[in-house]
Symmetry: C2
Subunit: 219 residues, 2 copies
Amino acid sequence: VIELAGVSKVYDTGRVAVRALDDVDLRLEAGGYMAIMGPSGSGKSTLMHILGCLDTPTSGSYFLRGHEVSQYARKKLAQVRNREVGFVFQRFNLLPRLTAAENVELPLLYAGASAERRREVVADLLAKVGLSDRGHHRPNELSGGEVQRVAIARALANDPAIILADEPTGNLDSKSEEDLMQLLDSLNEKGKTLVVVTHEDSVARHAKRVITLHDGRVV
Amino acid sequence: VIELAGVSKVYDTGRVAVRALDDVDLRLEAGGYMAIMGPSGSGKSTLMHILGCLDTPTSGSYFLRGHEVSQYARKKLAQVRNREVGFVFQRFNLLPRLTAAENVELPLLYAGASAERRREVVADLLAKVGLSDRGHHRPNELSGGEVQRVAIARALANDPAIILADEPTGNLDSKSEEDLMQLLDSLNEKGKTLVVVTHEDSVARHAKRVITLHDGRVV
Ligand SMILES: Nc1ncnc2c1ncn2[C@@H]1O[C@H](COP(=O)(O)OP(=O)(O)OP(=O)(O)O)[C@@H](O)[C@H]1O
Ligand SMILES: Nc1ncnc2c1ncn2[C@@H]1O[C@H](COP(=O)(O)OP(=O)(O)OP(=O)(O)O)[C@@H](O)[C@H]1O
Ligand SMILES: [Mg+2]
Ligand SMILES: [Mg+2]
């Protein structure tokens, strides 16, 4: 369902070009469960942004469910994202002016879900991440780990086929981490495709496959 | 050097009041090295913000080097902070419009350091966290772990007597985590007082003391 061929990403900040990804090939079947590890700065988030159609490669191709998505116009890309992909970012996950509940509701609004359905799904997902009593808090009124958990709930709002989570447990204690991994495992058992970036073996161990990046290359 | 007595913190978001800290007593001698652990939402960051003079308790007292700081005016509090405390935040560590080097330089500017000294210290600290070649990158041009490492460099800019680090390794791979812990250990050996919030045993193990929070109480 996911296929990267010869993907490179170069950032040109003016002084020195940074080759964040270097000729990456990757295939993941539907229902796959992959962990991506590697040192700080090795290209993991860059790879996730390309997988999540949030950025395009400098060279190479990306087939998502058979479609060559790096050809798509922004609008179409955004539609694919909204329907197919749930993304948990490493940073800046939530819109600061919206409450936790409103943040989780957003993808459902874009997808045109009814008010009743939105209410249901938001309540169900906040409960799943143990934050039923924090729905009305804004991000600056939440702890770091709570923000992360709301972000996970939001990524699941449209019941996406593919879930991309970039360090989803970075701010979580071991109990909260366990709960989250059980949730992700159960989603994979239901047939969802999962890609998780992590630096914790305790998390990578849940995946069926682990790939390691080093200086933008798969090693 | 640090002494909290009966400290409580209540957030009143309108609907329900959240008692983030509940009657906390804490003493840490100069040169101490303490880790704070506990579940997500247990009050760790709230405690750190009070320790770092970034927030005041709802009740109770806080003596920092013998001075009852919760009495201080904002201006005086900011001065104490700038001179005495280096703070690594759990989120939003850097000013987004400034480069990594400019972010590290900021505390030195506030402290009135000469241009030459500022240049020296920034170069030295960026090297210490392995980011000499990223000084001109803005935060959105850095990886998550690189942002965290720049934040650590910035916290050390004024060579503070007290270092408060809130989940400093959350985004770091094990090698970068090791390097950082070695840096923090060496600072403690030089006599600096360290308080580190972490959910990783591999980090807590470096401290001389570990306290655990649960629902705002020390357990
Ligand atoms: N917009 C950008 N402009 C310039 N360089 C960038 C940009 N974004 C990322 N980089 C650089 O590209 C490299 C890879 O970044 P990336 O965020 O993919 O790393 P990562 O593996 O996710 O790291 P971490 O584990 O620290 O989150 C980093 O060295 C970073 O400095
Ligand atoms: N400004 C605020 N208004 C209302 N509630 C808040 C506010 N800030 C924090 N809280 C609540 O206070 C509790 C403690 O927050 P705190 O950030 O101290 O937790 P923490 O132990 O650092 O958690 P984590 O490990 O997830 O970072 C949380 O349940 C949070 O929802
Ligand atoms: Mg990253
Ligand atoms: Mg916290």
